[in-house]
C-alpha cells in the first residue's frame, strides 16, 4: 500500500483541553508505526495549526515548572526533531498578533527541520493531498 499521507489539523488552543497536545504526540508516533506495518508501508502526517490552534505554540513556556507537565513547546520541538512537516497558518498568527519569531524552532535540540509559516492555501493543499484528515 506504500505511504499514506495524513493531515492533522489542530484548531483548538493548547492546555485547557488535551486534544491539541494529543495531536502532536499522535503525529510523532509516525516514527514507530513501521513495526506494525508491512515492509515498505509508511504513514506520513503533516501537522497543521489553524484558527485558535495557533495559540499556545510560543517560546518560553513554563508548564513543567508550574504544573509539572511537558510543555506544548517541548512537544512541538520534538515534532521537528523527528522531521515532521509542521505548518502554521500565517493569517491566524497575524489575526492573534503573534509575531512569527515567537514560534520556536528546535535548533537547540539538534533539529534541522524548520516549522513552515504558510498561508491557509498551503494547509488546504496538505488536506487535499492527504488520504485522511483528522481534526483535533
Amino acid at each position: 500500500m506504500g505511504d499514506v499521507k495524513l493531515a492533522f489539523i489542530v484548531q483548538k488552543p493548547q492546555y485547557k483541553g488535551e486534544t491539541s497536545r494529543l495531536a502532536i504526540t499522535h503525529a510523532i508516533a509516525y516514527q514507530t508505526v513501521e513495526i506494525l506495518l508491512d515492509d515498505g508501508d509508511t504513514v506520513t502526517p503533516t501537522l497543521c495549526f489553524t484558527g485558535e490552534g495557533v495559540l499556545g505554540l510560543q517560546n518560553g513556556q513554563k508548564a513543567m515548572d508550574l504544573y509539572g507537565i511537558t510543555s506544548t513547546e517541548t512537544h512541538f520541538k520534538n515534532s521537528l526533531l523527528v522531521d515532521l512537516d509542521v505548518l502554521i497558518c500565517k493569517e491566524d498568527l497575524a489575526r492573534y498578533g503573534i509575531p512569527e519569531n515567537a514560534i520556536p524552532d528546535a535548533e537547540d535540540m539538534g533539529a534541522d527541520k524548520k516549522v513552515k509559516i504558510v498561508p491557509f492555501s498551503e494547509i488546504q493543499k496538505a488536506v487535499e493531498e492527504s488520504k485522511h484528515v483528522l481534526f483535533f
Binding site: 500500500m1 499514506v4 495524513l6 483548538k12 483541553g17 488535551e18 486534544t19 494529543l22 504526540t25 499522535h26 510523532i28 508516533a29 509516525y30 514507530t32 508505526v33 513495526i35 506494525l36 506495518l37 508501508d41 504513514v43 502526517p45 485522511h132 483528522l134 481534526f135 483535533f136
Partner: protein, 119 residues
C-alpha cells in the same frame, strides 16, 4: 465492504460524543464493514471493567463487549490509561492496549477515518 477507523478521545461521562462513536461503530459493523476503535485521552477511562450503569450516566462496558463480540477491534492508549490509574488487570477483556502507533497503523489500511477530538 470497507474499513472504518474511529479515533475517540472524549470521556465516557460528561458528554455524548463517546456514545455517538460507539453507535456509529455498531451501525458500520452491522452493515458488514470492518471497524477499529482507538481510545485516547479521557476515553481511555471507559475501558475499566465492572462499570455500574446508573441511569443518569452513559455506560460503555456492555456496548464495548457487544462490539468486541461482533469483531470490532478496540484498543486503548496505554499511557493515557495508566495515567488515569487503570491497570491492565482491571480492563475489559479483549480490549487491546498499545501505543499511539496502533492508531496510525490501523489508519494506514482504512478506507475512512473519523477522528473525534476530546472536549
Amino acid at each position: 465492504m470497507g474499513i472504518l477507523t474511529i479515533g475517540c478521545f472524549p470521556g465516557l461521562i460528561g458528554n455524548m460524543s463517546y456514545d455517538f462513536a460507539l453507535k456509529l461503530a455498531e451501525a458500520a459493523v452491522n452493515k458488514g464493514h470492518k471497524v477499529n476503535i482507538w481510545f485516547s485521552g479521557n476515553a481511555t477511562g471507559s475501558i475499566k471493567a465492572h462499570q455500574k450503569h446508573l441511569k443518569d450516566y452513559s455506560t460503555g462496558e456492555k456496548y464495548l463487549k457487544a462490539l468486541l463480540e461482533k469483531g470490532v477491534e478496540i484498543c486503548t492508549c496505554e499511557a493515557c490509561t495508566v495515567a488515569r490509574g487503570i491497570q491492565k488487570t482491571e480492563g475489559i477483556e479483549k480490549i487491546q492496549w498499545n501505543a499511539m502507533h496502533w492508531y496510525l497503523a490501523k489508519i494506514h489500511a482504512s478506507d475512512r477515518v473519523l477522528q473525534i477530538g476530546g472536549e
